[in-house]
């Protein structure tokens, strides 16, 4: 295509692997027409970010372009001199990274950082750049643009910061912007705002964009065309409607099916309460309490999901229950017996009965230990098992979580994200616990793998009758695992009840907001959600303090 803005042809990328080079992208081609939005979608390791960066003629450290061509308005970028590339990046093609917090310099005001590129390139005066900044901030619907412009990055919220990043990308009026997972790190309710900002910005400025994400539902709201990638190869590509309605490849169909997981929790009827939390408030240091007067109970063999945005105090509650953060007031009971607030004062058997699985398996596994030790240690520690019995038990545990004995001598660095999370689960199961606290266990994983982990959790529950406290921000996962749901906001319970009560109308306002913010896999969902939001927001304003009573 002669009129393509960016034309990538047979791109082969290699990454450094030990001493040699390993192909990570095996010949990908696409064209991006002016004003068009292309969605690149795939799981982690699919090579989508590397392709995005290569589209600017650049590579990450440790990655090189082996062959192929990248043309920008007909001009070859590969092998172009550094000077030209610098001209291009920021001016013709801009880049928006996943973590805005990491991309901003914490020591300078946002508006100064905004103006920096434009002023340095000599395109406009500092004065003009600041004025332009305010104008773009306004266009992106940032509340109180003057204040945000004068703020330092840590003084604004994550969603606002991400929108500032988008504004910055717009500063030099580029022909194309590359968005690399711009909403992945955000809460669903914030994600919506950023999505709208991005879409408006693209429409307003007529910019072309490459939108990289692992979430098909998100890209469905923005892209004109989608390319599905897997293991560095194109699986299929086509117009948005065609991919959503008539996907050709089974992998695409899998991705589409992710949000259609069967509903249901353990299905166990409510029995005796295993753990109860009574009027617990907790705070970090002398700060204002993070959670206030929370009461809930976890019945035997059932799954209680704790849902809320980041900062709602849901993880804090999990830490209080585990004894990592002694509460300021309130009690925690296990089997009706009161527990010591501090884990260090609980006896070994109590510690054994409550296990924890974390969000990020990378930091939850000792990188120097091998699988044998990671799983074997709790078995030995709690039950005194040694010798061949220990080996058998470890193998059995690994089997339960879908790993086999070939993993025994590996370290966590030699395993994939999903495998690591399975290993964490095996470590928790090794203690034969009665309650497992799952703190965002699926949110660091790709969707397909997250679904497998949820299935695994359910299977284990059926077999062993363990209870879960499932902490998550993703109300969609909740549907497929929870028996009971507790919705948390700003440290307080908004509502709690069985899954049927919470997830069916009538909704509490906040729950409705959460539910409506989950992207749906169809075109036009974003407009609808925004419209609904405005309606409910005005209504919520009118009936501010009318809460639906819990249960």
């Amino acid at each position: 295509m002669a009129d393509a803005l960016i034309s990538v042809k047979d791109l082969v990328l290699e990454a450094q692997d030990g001493g040699g080079w390993r192909q990570i992208v095996h010949g990908v081609s696409f064209d991006l027409a002016a004003g068009e939005v292309l969605g690149l979608i795939g799981e982690s390791g699919a090579g989508k970010s590397s392709i995005g960066i290569a589209a600017m003629g650049r590579t990450r450290p440790g990655v090189r372009i082996a062959s192929g061509s990248v043309r920008l308005e007909g001009k070859e970028l590969i092998g172009a001199p550094e000077e030209d590339l610098r001209q291009i990046s920021g001016q013709t093609v801009a880049y928006v990274a996943q973590s805005a917090a990491a991309a901003f310099n914490p020591a300078h005001k946002i508006i100064d950082q905004f103006a920096e590129t434009a002023v340095q390139e000599g395109r406009m005066s500092a004065q003009a750049a600041r004025a332009l900044g305010l104008e773009i901030f306004r266009k992106l619907d940032l509340p109180d643009p003057e204040r945000i412009a004068q703020s330092y990055p840590h003084q604004v919220s994550g969603g606002q910061l991400q929108r500032c990043m988008v504004a910055m990308a717009m500063a030099c009026n580029p022909r194309a912007i590359i968005f690399d997972e711009p909403t992945t790190a955000l809460d669903v309710t914030t994600q919506i705002e950023v999505l709208v900002a991005i879409r408006n910005a693209i429409a307003e400025f007529g910019t072309a964009a490459i939108y990289i994400t692992h979430d098909l539902a998100v890209v469905a709201q923005i892209a004109d065309r989608i390319m599905v990638l897997r293991n560095g190869r194109e699986v299929e590509s086509g117009a948005i409607g065609q991919i959503l309605d008539t996907p050709a490849h089974p992998y695409t169909r899998d991705l589409l099916a992710v949000r259609k997981t069967p509903y249901g929790g353990s299905g166990k009827t409510e029995g005796a309460a295993l753990a109860t939390i009574c009027n617990v408030s907790a705070a970090y240091g002398k700060a204002a309490p993070t959670i206030k007067d929370i009461s809930l109970s976890i019945p035997e063999g059932r799954t209680v999901a704790l849902v809320g945005e980041s900062g709602s105090g849901k993880s804090t509650l999990g830490r209080v229950l585990a004894g990592l953060l002694p509460p300021v007031s309130g009690q925690i009971k296990l089997d009706g017996k009161q527990l010591a607030p501090d884990a260090m004062r609980r006896d070994k058997d109590t510690l054994r009965r409550i296990q924890m699985v974390y969000q990020s398996p990378d930091t939850a596994l000792n990188p120097r230990h091998r699988v044998r030790k990671i799983v074997g240690r709790p078995v030995r520690f709690y039950f005194g098992t040694t010798g061949s019995a220990l080996g058998d038990r470890v193998a059995e545990l690994l089997g339960e979580v879908g790993l086999d004995e070939t993993y025994l001598d590996r370290r966590s660095a030699e395993m994939s994200g999903g495998e690591k999370q399975r290993l964490c689960l095996a470590r928790a199961l090794a203690a034969n616990p009665d309650l497992i606290i799952c703190d965002e266990v699926t949110s660091a994983l790709d969707q397909l793998i997250a679904r497998d982990i949820v299935d695994l959790l359910k299977r284990i529950q059926q077999k062993s009758g363990v209870s879960y406290l499932f902490i998550t921000h993703d109300i969609d996962t909740v549907r497929s695992i929870a028996d009971d749901i507790v919705v948390l906001k700003s440290g307080e319970i908004v509502e709690q009840g069985s899954r049927e009560t919470i997830l069916n109308p009538p909704y509490a306002d906040y729950t409705k907001l959460l539910l409506s913010s989950v992207p749906e896999m169809r075109h036009g969902w974003l407009d609808q959600a925004i419209a609904e939001r405005q309606v409910s927001a005005s209504r919520a304003h009118a009936a501010h303090d009318v809460h639906r009573s819990s249960k």
Partner: protein, 266 residues
């Protein structure tokens, strides 16, 4: 390679040294065998002689024995103390951490050399006291490093998981913290080892370190320093020996890190 030469010197010093540690074999500061002026003795003084006419090579070899052994003992001792207490402070936190840290602060507030001088002149200059004093002073630095390292590790979730399991402090320190702090600690070991060298030689120069006529590289540099102004190479040999050993130790540390823990960034 560099290390193994030194190791041989340490182990078999009396066998390979052409002369005794304190034997006077020739004139003062006679040049080595590359010069026509070398004293006519057999075996020849390959590197020349020092300020009292002793064979430099022999003294280098004996010096290796004294200096390296002493430095190893001191560094090992200070690491044992420093790392143990540093980890303990980080793992237990609370008042244990406060107490240990304040004690270390007090010790570090004194200039190290003066502190060492005071203690050594009060308690005598036997080797045991020397080792103890330098190790204690060095341990304060290592305490700082290992406490900082451990503090980064105790906030990791795998550590939290082990703590929640009810593991004892010893397990937490040895199994969870130590392997993950090993990289930076080994690098620190290589560096500290050389500092100890210099510290010993500084003390020796002031007359409180290794006592003459015992040979050690640091004092050999000092004793022969004046020769450099006569255009002679003699003081450079012990200095070169220190430098080579330093590089050697660091190479070994790097190699060990890559080999044993697969660390690429020291």
């Amino acid at each position: 390679m560099l290390i193994s030469v030194n190791l041989v010197a340490v182990l078999f010093a009396p066998l390979i040294a052409p002369y005794g540690e304190t034997d006077t074999v020739g004139g003062v500061w006679s040049p080595g065998i590359w010069s026509a002026d070398t004293p006519d003795i057999s075996p020849p003084a390959i590197l020349g002689t020092d300020q009292l006419g002793r064979d430099l090579l022999s003294r280098l070899i004996y010096g290796a024995r004294n200096t390296i052994l002493l430095a190893i003992v001191i560094t090992a001792l200070s690491f044992t103390i420093g790392v143990l207490l540093g980890f303990l402070a980080a793992v237990l936190r609370g008042w244990v951490d406060q107490t240990l840290s304040r004690i270390v602060d007090v010790l570090m507030a004194f200039p190290t050399l003066i502190l060492a001088l005071v203690v050594l002149s009060a308690m005598g200059t036997s080797t045991a006291v020397l080792i103890g004093v330098i190790a204690t002073i060095d341990a304060t630095q290592i305490f700082r490093v290992s406490r900082a390292l451990a503090r980064d590790i105790v906030v990791m979730e795998y550590f939290e998981a082990a703590r929640l399991r009810g593991e004892r402090v010893w397990w937490l320190m040895v199994e969870e913290v130590l392997p993950n702090a090993l990289g930076p600690l080994m690098a620190e070991f290589g560096l500290r080892f050389c500092f100890v060298f210099l510290f010993i030689s500084a003390l020796s120069f002031l007359g409180l370190g290794i006592q003459p006529p015992t040979a050690d590289w640091g004092s050999m540099v000092r004793e022969n320093a004046a020769a450099i102004s006569f255009g002679m190479l003699i003081p450079l040999f012990p200095a070169l020996a220190i430098a080579l050993l330093t590089i050697g130790i660091n190479l070994v540390v790097d190699w060990f890190l890559q080999k044993s823990v697969g660390l690429k960034d020291g």
